[in-house]
């Protein structure tokens, strides 16, 4: 896919001069304008573009917020209030940033589940997938540290609970966990020192994500996009140029996404947050229920489902790490679940388990909630470790179309596409 001929023709003398010295316009043209995309991509393939937009939006709003924010235990909460109340349009920028974090996770979860459903992790896209898992991991770290910055009650106690998890490593090597926790805190408790370093890292990590995104897109453009059939692109008639075809879908769905985004920013800015975070951090008063942000809830449920602290921490990190091995755990010969009559059911059971874990993570860890959290935690891991390898071997996939073109145009793929992408050759 990436090996397609460059069709970039510099139009002006300056463009020509530039192209001979640094062909960046050629790179952009070949990667995002004339780039061949499968002709059958559905709206789920627009989330890569949406995520790029949200990342840039978070960086821009974040830089503006950092101009007004004070990363100290004494001033952090006051400075956020100042942004909300006194900075011109500060309330809007803050809402964009706070809601933006949630939108980032909504988009990334759709993106990940799309990859899981259509088998986008399978060869030759393993590196692409693993880079995605890394982005997800760094995103979670960034969001966690970002949530600490307003220095409200939930910020403070969330940081206290989560950083304390590392102390469980004392169970492996005495003193190791304590040393790590003190190193993270910069002292013997969560203080302004901790806040200050979190702010520093919260400013740094988005640029790490940006770097990983560039690698992710590069890997994507080497292997080419997967598509709803999971078939490889075989002929030119299987593809259309990215511009204007894929781009027109990208923009449409980005705006649909922005409608939801704006809905929350302007009408429900606090819906995705927690009321306790409007109370300034107080180390002497513990909130009755310490709950992380919604996007961490499934992992929080897994953490608490395991009766042992160290075991819980290991399970929580394993829940993310296991994604790295998905390309090799899935033994199926076909990519797309569309042609996998049995696995399809398990996919939806897995999706349901994640939602259920999210719900259970928001509830206190007691009684029947723990019971169900254990059931779903079991399935979460069983899906990867048992279902993926076994179903892939046992299942008989449905008959695949011979090509993407045939999948779109029906048996025989008779009609020749009319557009620019039309290719005379047929299989």
């Amino acid at each position: 896919m990436a090996q397609h001929e460059s069709t970039y023709v510099p139009k002006s003398a300056i463009a020509k001069w530039w192209d001979q010295r640094l062909p960046i316009m050629r790179l952009m043209h070949d990667s995002f304008v004339d780039y061949p995309t499968p002709r059958n991509l559905n709206f789920l393939w627009t989330f890569g573009g949406i995520l790029t937009f949200v990342l840039v939006a978070q960086i821009v709003t974040g830089i503006v917020l950092a101009m007004h924010y004070q990363p100290s235990a004494e001033d952090a909460f006051n400075s956020v209030e100042n942004i909300r109340r006194n900075v011109n349009y500060g309330y809007m920028i803050r809402n964009f940033h706070a809601v933006g974090a949630s939108m980032f996770f909504i988009a990334v979860y759709i993106h990940i589940f799309r990859g899981l459903y259509y088998g986008s992790y399978k060869a030759p896209r393993e590196i692409l997938w693993i880079l995605g898992v890394l982005i997800f991991l760094v995103m979670m770290a960034t969001a966690f540290m970002g949530y600490a910055l307003p220095w409200g009650q939930m910020s403070f106690w969330g940081v206290t609970v989560i950083t304390n998890l590392f102390s469980s490593l004392d169970g492996i090597f005495p003193g190791l966990g304590t040393a790590i926790v003190e190193w993270l805190w910069g002292g013997y408790a969560v203080t302004g020192v901790t806040l200050n370093r979190f702010f520093s890292l919260h400013y740094l990590l988005p640029f790490v994500i940006l770097g990983l995104v560039i690698l992710h897109v590069w890997a994507l453009h080497v292997a080419g996009q997967n598509n709803p059939t999971g078939l490889d692109v075989k002929t030119k008639s299987d593809t259309v140029p990215m511009s204007p075809y894929a781009i027109s879908k990208d923009f449409l769905w980005m705006f649909v996404f922005l409608i939801m985004f704006a809905w929350f920013v302007f009408f429900l800015p606090d819906y995705l947050g927690h009321a306790d975070n409007y109370i300034e951090a107080n180390p002497l008063v513990t909130p009755p229920h310490i709950v992380p942000e919604w996007y961490f809830l499934p992992f929080y449920a897994i953490l608490r489902a395991i009766p042992d602290k160290l075991g819980g921490v290991v399970a929580m990190f394993a829940a993310i790490a296991i994604l790295v091995f998905v390309p090799w755990l899935d033994t199926s010969r076909v990519r797309s679940s569309k042609y996998r009559p049995i696995y399809k059911w398990f996919f939806w059971l897995f999706a349901f388990s994640c939602l259920a874990l999210g719900y259970l993570g928001s509830k206190p860890a007691e009684g029947v909630y723990v019971f169900w959290a254990r059931i779903f935690t079991f399935y979460y891991f069983a899906h990867f470790l048992i279902v993926m390898p076994i179903v892939g071997i046992l299942e008989t996939p449905k008959k695949l179309p011979r090509s993407i073109t045939e999948a779109v145009l029906g048996e025989g793929g008779a009609a020749t596409p009319k557009g620019a992408a039309a290719a005379p050759e047929r299989r």
């Binding site: 002709r39 059958n40 209030e81 909300r84 109340r85 309330y91 809007m92 809402n95 259309v240 075809y245 027109s248 879908k249 923009f251 449409l252 705006f255 649909v256 922005l258 409608i259 704006a262 809905w263 920013v265 302007f266 009408f267 429900l268 800015p269 606090d270 819906y271 009321a275 306790d276 409007y278 109370i279 009755p288 229920h289 009559p341 049995i342 059911w345 398990f346 939806w348 059971l349 349901f352 259920a356 719900y359 509830k363 007691e366 009684g367 909630y369 169900w372 059931i375 779903f376 399935y379 046992l394 299942e395 008989t396 779109v408 145009l409 009609a415 596409p417 009319k418 557009g419 620019a420």
Partner: protein, 294 residues
């Protein structure tokens, strides 16, 4: 053989899905006590067209001034805010006079002699409560600490206690209707929730019974009397405990979120822009894809 195995696997998946779906917990008893139901109120500032009711904010400020300010500060709100658009919109000269006469003076300084001094508040000063710090407040209030009310509406909410299958629908309804008034509903419920403790209820010394406060014991005595405070003739409403509570809650909602009106107004402009652009993009997409069979 393979066919049989597929069928078995499929059946197993269905059974597992049904079993997990049917048996999730339906009762909640999280905090130990029985969940308290808090009635949702009709607020002028709720929903997509929400805006503050100006006379109500003014009455609410009167309640704050005459009742709450005896113990609670409002220190993130500045006197100037009271005259700004989107709030009670008092006359600026009146707010200046109000600030000058506010009983809790501003500590300023040091002066040229190096001493701190107290002076009357200006428009640019915060609305302070009677206590300099938490220790002083607790010393005066029998150990209790009256919190600053600037954020009180945003810092309070109503706990969800409904079973999960109802929770899902309530969530969808709240998102679609833009429900953000849980804090106001809660504060209103606390202010109107004072009652005689039921027989057998162990009330600690110096505490008061409240129907909705968590644990039912609240240090704050009933702040508003049954007949309410004296409203002016042209205030727009008859004073009562219920009316006072409603008004001061609305005022505090504004204090928590002074940009609410601007936010919702701009919100509609943004939504309109996005909707129109989305329609145009949809048309563009259809035209572009009409060139190829798909």
């Amino acid at each position: 053989m393979k066919k049989l195995m597929s069928t078995t696997l499929r059946a197993a998946a269905v059974v597992a899905a049904l079993a997990t779906g049917a048996a999730l917990p339906s009762t909640v008893n999280a905090a130990g006590g029985e969940p308290v139901h808090i009635e949702r109120q009709d607020w002028s500032f709720g929903g997509f067209f929400g805006h503050f009711d100006r006379p109500q904010l003014r009455r609410g400020f009167q309640v704050y001034q005459e009742v709450c300010a005896a113990c609670h500060g409002l220190s993130r709100v500045y006197f100037r805010n009271l005259a700004e658009p989107g709030g009670p919109e008092f006359d600026e000269a009146a707010v200046k006079a109000l600030a000058a006469g506010w009983p809790n003076k501003i500590t300023d300084g040091p002066n040229d002699q190096g001493d701190m001094f107290e002076r009357p508040a200006l428009l640019s000063d915060p609305i302070l409560g009677p206590y300099k710090n938490e220790k002083q407040a607790r010393a005066a209030q029998n150990g209790a600490f009256p919190p600053d009310l600037s954020n009180i509406i945003k810092a309070r909410t109503i706990e969800n206690h409904e079973p999960w299958y109802i929770h899902v629908f309530n969530m969808a309804r709240d998102i679609l209707t833009g429900y953000q008034e849980a804090g106001a509903d809660y504060v209103h419920a606390v202010l109107t929730g004072y009652a005689e403790a039921p027989a057998g209820f162990q009330l600690s010394e110096g505490m008061n019974y409240n129907k909705v406060f968590p644990g039912h014991q609240i240090a704050m005595p009933q702040p508003i009397s049954a007949e309410g405070i004296q409203y002016q003739e042209n205030a727009g409403a008859k004073s009562s405990l219920e009316q006072n509570s409603r008004d001061v809650t609305a005022f505090l909602a504004w204090a928590s979120d002074p940009s609410l009106e601007a936010r919702k107004r701009i919100g509609w402009q943004v939504m309109l822009y996005l909707l129109v652009t989305t329609v145009l993009l949809y048309i563009a997409k259809r035209r572009i894809w009409a060139r190829v069979e798909h």
